[in-house]
Structure formats: structure tokens, C-alpha cells
């Protein structure tokens, strides 16, 4: 299988603290990969390097053969772990904003997803609940026909109904030609959608592999494995 993301000896330091410590990781094209770890394990730092927001201290990151930059931003659709839309925007404004910004944005897909999420185009961002904001952000990110989707904590802090809608939207959008990298600490809710999982602890890769193979080898679901690894 072809690797769409290659990470070599990646280290990121903030002064003396190492947020990422010599990470090596390949992500195959067409896979849904879960990056799992508690708060402060380095998940968001890793994602910010992949999306070109932060620079690595050492090592190399290649996305479809390129270092993070203009070329990779055109093919990576990124859901940050907090709202990225302005409060004054209506949902329609947000759609127009994305349409202007990204050449791969599919407006019709956005409207379909908004209907599915039961979001009304005339609503203002500052009138939306936390769950609705999350659904709107995800709608915009999934409406790009990107090669790679990077979703940072897509279901954190939303109610079970919104969570199910978000999972449905992610699964519905999945296809063999796109790759997804999803961080979460809500392992139980999301583990069934991962092909592969990566456990991050204190900036290091503790464990990685095919989710089903891990279940078979360890005789446990990923959630229980996660508790075993991080619960000590």
C-alpha cells in the first residue's frame, strides 16, 4: 500500500519540554487512522505540524511527497479542536467563505450535509449550541473533496445524538481514495471506525497497528487496551 503520510524522527520541543519525541509513523492511503492518547500526549501538536501550523524542531514530515506548506494545505482538510468561524457569520456566510477559500469545496455536498445535520443556513454562528458549532465545522471540512481529512477531537463535548450524526457523516464520507486521521480520547465511541490506531503517550508512539489485529492478539477491545495502557 502507498503511504500518503510519512513521519520520520519527528521531534517538537517547546523550550526544554519535548511535546513530540522522535515519532516515526506511516499512514496508508485510504485508511482511517485513530490517534489516541490522553490530554497532553502530543496529539494536537502532531496535527498542527501535519497541517503546517507549527514547524518541527527535528525530523521530517511528508504528505503526498511534500513537506507541509501551500501544496499540502490544498489537499488536507483540517478540523481544528475549536471553532474556527467568526461569530458574526451566518451558516450561509460560512459556506461562502469556504467556497472562496478552497478550490476543492463542493457546495452541494455542504448543503446536503447541512440538511442531514438539521442546520438552517440562515442561523448565525453565535446562536448555535456547542454541538451545532461542531456539526457546522465538520460539515464544512467534510465538504471539501480532499485527499486527507485531519479531524482533531470531532466528538469532544457533544451530546449522544449529535455524536451519532457526526459519526454517520464521517462514515458516509469515507471512501477508498481519501485518508482520515482522527484524534480522540473518547475511544469507546470511535474505535469501530478505525482501520489502524496509534497510541501516543508523552510525545512518543507507544503502540500502533491494525485495530482488528490488536483485538485478536490482545483479546480485548481497543477501549480496554487504552485503559490498560494509560490507566496505570
Amino acid at each position: 500500500m502507498e503511504n500518503i503520510i510519512e513521519i520520520r524522527d519527528l521531534t517538537k520541543s517547546y523550550f526544554t519540554k519535548k511535546a513530540l519525541d522522535n515519532i516515526n509513523l506511516n499512514v496508508e492511503k485510504g485508511k482511517v487512522v485513530g490517534v489516541l492518547g490522553p490530554n497532553g500526549s502530543g496529539k494536537t501538536t502532531l496535527i498542527k505540524i501535519l497541517t503546517g501550523i507549527l514547524r518541527e524542531t527535528k525530523g521530517e514530515v511528508l504528505i503526498d511527497g511534500n513537506s507541509p506548506g501551500v501544496a499540502t494545505k490544498a489537499i488536507v482538510s483540517y478540523l481544528p479542536d475549536r471553532n474556527f468561524l467568526y461569530n458574526w457569520m451566518s451558516i450561509q456566510d460560512a459556506v461562502d467563505f469556504f467556497k472562496d477559500f478552497y478550490g476543492d469545496f463542493d457546495e452541494n455536498k455542504a448543503y446536503e450535509l447541512l440538511d442531514f445535520m438539521k442546520l438552517n443556513r440562515s442561523m448565525k454562528v453565535n446562536e448555535l449550541s456547542k454541538g451545532m458549532v461542531e456539526k457546522l465545522n465538520l460539515t464544512l471540512v467534510l465538504s471539501r473533496n480532499a485527499k486527507i481529512y485531519v479531524l482533531d477531537e470531532p466528538i469532544a463535548g457533544v451530546d449522544p445524538v449529535a455524536r451519532d450524526q457526526i459519526l454517520d457523516a464521517i462514515i458516509g464520507n469515507f471512501n477508498e481514495s481519501s485518508t482520515m486521521l482522527i484524534t480522540t480520547h473518547l475511544v469507546r465511541d470511535m474505535e469501530n471506525i478505525f482501520d489502524d490506531v496509534v497510541f501516543l503517550k508523552e510525545g512518543k508512539v507507544l503502540l500502533e497497528g491494525n485495530a482488528e489485529a490488536l483485538r485478536e492478539d490482545r483479546g480485548t477491545q481497543i477501549d480496554d487496551l487504552y485503559k490498560e495502557v494509560f490507566g496505570e
Binding site: 462514515i171 469501530n192 483485538r215 477491545q221
Partner: protein, 119 residues
């Protein structure tokens, strides 16, 4: 849907489909839900569903028609055999549990017979 047994998800989905076939919720020759439909219903990665269907096909319980989908076998004998195999599986695990409580095979069958008489 949460999968609780300590088994890979694809095997748990196979068992679920097998049960649906045995209780005739899915009849012989009937079309299974598409990979995408079942993936959405169970909120499971489509690759996992695909693997379940492939393994079910390897066991001759379902067959695939190109461009049409996956169908339950039309061979009633295969389904009868599946039912027997599943029954034996349940009985075996029951006997194992009973033996771990210290019952002999003779005692176990006596308990069952008495239970059957009571209705």
C-alpha cells in the same frame, strides 16, 4: 453499537449475520444490506463490514453477484448445518461453564432432563 465480546469486530458482525440467517430474519437467497448500509447502521468502518462479508462467503453462507450485492446462500442444507453448529457451540460453552462449577456430564444431563419435564 458497542461490541463487547473480546473478539475482533468482523467476527462479531459475522455472528450477528449468522444469527439473522438462522432465525430466518434473512431468508435463503435474500440480499444482505450493502456494505455501506450496514456500515452506517452499525457505525463501523466499511472495510470491517467488507471483511465480514468475505469471511461469510468463504464459509459458503453467502455469495456475491458482481454489481448486485451479497446474498444469503440458497442451499437449505448449509443453513441447517449452520444452525446445528451454532447450537453445538452454545451447548459446548454451557457444558464448560457447568463443569467449571463441578458438575459431571451425567449430572448436567439429569438437570436438563428434569428441567425439560418441568416444562
Amino acid at each position: 453499537m458497542f461490541f463487547n465480546e473480546n473478539l475482533p469486530i468482523y467476527i462479531q458482525i459475522m455472528n450477528m449475520v449468522k444469527k439473522r440467517i438462522v432465525i430466518k430474519e434473512l431468508k435463503e437467497g435474500e440480499k444482505l444490506p450493502s456494505v455501506r448500509e450496514l456500515s452506517t447502521e452499525l457505525k463501523v468502518n466499511p472495510n470491517t463490514i467488507q471483511r465480514s462479508y468475505q469471511e461469510l462467503e468463504r464459509e459458503d453462507l453467502v455469495f456475491t453477484q458482481r454489481g448486485m450485492g451479497t446474498f444469503v446462500t440458497e442451499d437449505i442444507d448449509v443453513i441447517d448445518n449452520l444452525k446445528k453448529t451454532m447450537a453445538l457451540g452454545l451447548v459446548d460453552s454451557f457444558i464448560k461453564d457447568m463443569e467449571s462449577l463441578g458438575f459431571s456430564i451425567g449430572e448436567i444431563s439429569e438437570i436438563i432432563n428434569n428441567r425439560a419435564k418441568e416444562g
